[in-house]
Symmetry: C2
Subunit: 359 residues, 2 copies
């Protein structure tokens, strides 16, 4: 600051007062962030996460950051959050990167990959293994920043009305399973269909479909699938699905540094918390399912099915890597990171869990 | 605020200016938090966590929160942080709850328990399963607040120079393993000793001890034990050791609400981050150990050893529960929570990891 000499003490005092007022006004400027979420109103866990982030940020900023959160019934574009934030209709979004495979094929890898990393392994890749930098590279051309937005934990392989004992049992099986996992399933001869969530229960009950994949106990319980299907299979397709916060770069740049940090830390904590909350609620929900419907049985796909699913996954990922150098870089980064960190998971958590397998 | 009528516009303007100045000055008041850590200067991971917390809090508060962090070389009381913060010599501490078993027996349960929860399961217990409330009950009588302060992940069972093939191999084995795990080992006939960290390598090399337990690959690698012991055993004793932030209640109460929230969220994020950082560095360190010392072999204790360790753990915990109703309440809460959430871990992560066991 340049030195200014005042001719009278009165003027000096007046200048000081003006400067304090201006600092005070600047410090009190509020920013209202409009956030669009993929989820419908009152959506459990997924919808709680942006609200928990907003509550933390508002409180930490003493009200200088405010949020207006719109659910999908308001903006009518549950799978168009990417465009809404890119075009500036909203400042932020809470959605999942793999929904935008159509617009940006490389967005897919930042949610989850079949036979990929568990949630903690994937957070390690994001924060310490180069994942954040690759995600930035993918989103930067669209004027967007993307941050981890909460993990669903290991998703279940789905509800099946009949047991799967061989690869043959999958041929012609009518199953609801969307996205990349659906493409993998189709490689094995599954008749993959997509059905709106509200019609899933009836479709499974009436035999329109033989099986479906949703999320895990916490979000499956309210859908009621355990009342009409006995076999609940362990997952392979989404071992740690991370949703995302999207932010328009211009909004981010308009914030002072302290509010940027408040937003960054609030998003980071809300994301971790969602992983832990889902784990908690999955434990409770699975307990309730087994108690109310003792017929429900947990199954793991036979080794030949797992092997075929892995081969089909590898084949499709190799095709994606061929198309684009950045896709290849991301896939390679994830594979190499997984190979290293899984060795650690195997000698620690897996060895521990297996050594007390009587539980 | 009461309505005040001013006789002249000048006085009204003057009052407004005064009010703005006072708001401004209040908003700019800085608080310097003195934090004592158990760890020595430059301690990897453990020492990085309070500094990362401080950096986030300083930036989020725009400098209104400042930290002065003292390592153990300064305050000379690595295992006396509880007293330093209780007596107000420091405002905060970064330490581990189980170090204070001597002063508060019930502090032990908030770090980790043999055959207990994995880190994410334990975070679920803390934040959604009643753990925070029980920890508050234990620390409140001392004028302290305790918060999760970072997880080491699953700790390894230790380095052994000879393979353990039966319970007999443990009888008379000289092993460094401190705390509750040491008491359990002693029940099995192990000659438990404690040796200062700086002398551990030489003690193991010269045969003063036959085995030792430290942490996991990330913190074991710099100690060099893999150069002189071939068998690295999977853990059972600390499946998810959570260190802690301690805060003097008076310091906490002196902070305005926004700074309390900034501190709370910074601690929460730094704690989660430490878990993820340890996971990352353990993956790298284990990779390096195997490459440089191919003789190093990962082992799991034989089932009869695991069973004996569990029985001894159950016996000692039952004795603790007998002594004190609050101990009983905490042990019961953890047991019941673990039973429920482990079912979910088993059908999700464990089933997934075992289904792709070829890795």
């Amino acid at each position: 600051m340049p030195t200014i000499t005042f001719r009278t003490p009165f003027l000096a005092a007046f200048a000081l007062v003006l400067s304090l007022i201006s600092t005070s006004l600047m410090a009190e400027k509020t920013y209202t962030i409009r956030l669009a979420e993929t989820w419908g109103p009152g959506s459990p866990i997924l919808g709680e996460t942006p609200r928990s982030m907003a509550a933390m940020a508002e409180k930490m900023s003493n009200g200088r950051l405010k949020f207006r959160i719109d659910s999908s019934n308001k903006h009518k574009a549950p799978f168009g959050i990417f465009d809404l934030v890119r075009q500036g209709q909203y400042d932020m979004g809470h959605t999942a990167s793999y929904y935008y495979k159509g617009s940006i094929p490389n967005a897919m890898y930042f949610t989850t990959v079949p036979f990929g990393m568990l949630a903690p392994e994937q957070y390690a890749w994001f924060y310490y293994g180069g994942g954040m930098e690759l995600m930035e590279e993918v989103y930067k051309p669209y004027g967007l920043l993307s941050f981890p937005g909460g993990n669903t934990g290991n998703q279940m392989g789905g509800w099946f009305r009949e047991e799967i004992t061989s690869l043959d049992d999958l041929k012609g099986l009518k199953m609801r399973t969307p996205g990349f996992a659906g493409e993998v399933m189709a490689e094995l001869g599954v008749a993959v269909t997509n059905i709106p969530p509200g019609e899933l229960y009836t479709a499974l009950e009436r035999g329109t479909i033989d099986a479906l994949e949703w999320v895990g106990p916490a979000l499956d319980l309210p859908m009621g699938f355990h009342q009409i299907a006995d076999y609940y299979y362990a997952g392979w397709q989404e071992p740690g699905a991370e949703v995302q916060f999207l932010i328009n770069q211009k909004t981010w740049d308009s914030l002072p540094e302290d509010l940027q940090e408040i937003l960054r830390v609030a998003m980071r904590t809300a994301a971790y918390d969602m992983y832990i909350q889902t784990m908690h609620e999955s434990g409770e929900a699975w307990d309730r399912m087994k108690e109310d419907y003792p017929n429900v049985t947990h199954k793991t796909f036979p080794p030949e099915v797992i092997e075929a699913l892995r081969n089909a996954t590898d084949k499709l990922l190799a095709e994606e890597a061929e198309k684009d150098p950045l896709a290849k870089e991301i896939i390679t980064s994830q594979r190499e990171y997984l190979k290293q960190i899984r060795q650690w998971t195997n000698i620690s958590d897996k060895a521990y869990l297996n050594s007390i397998s009587t539980d």
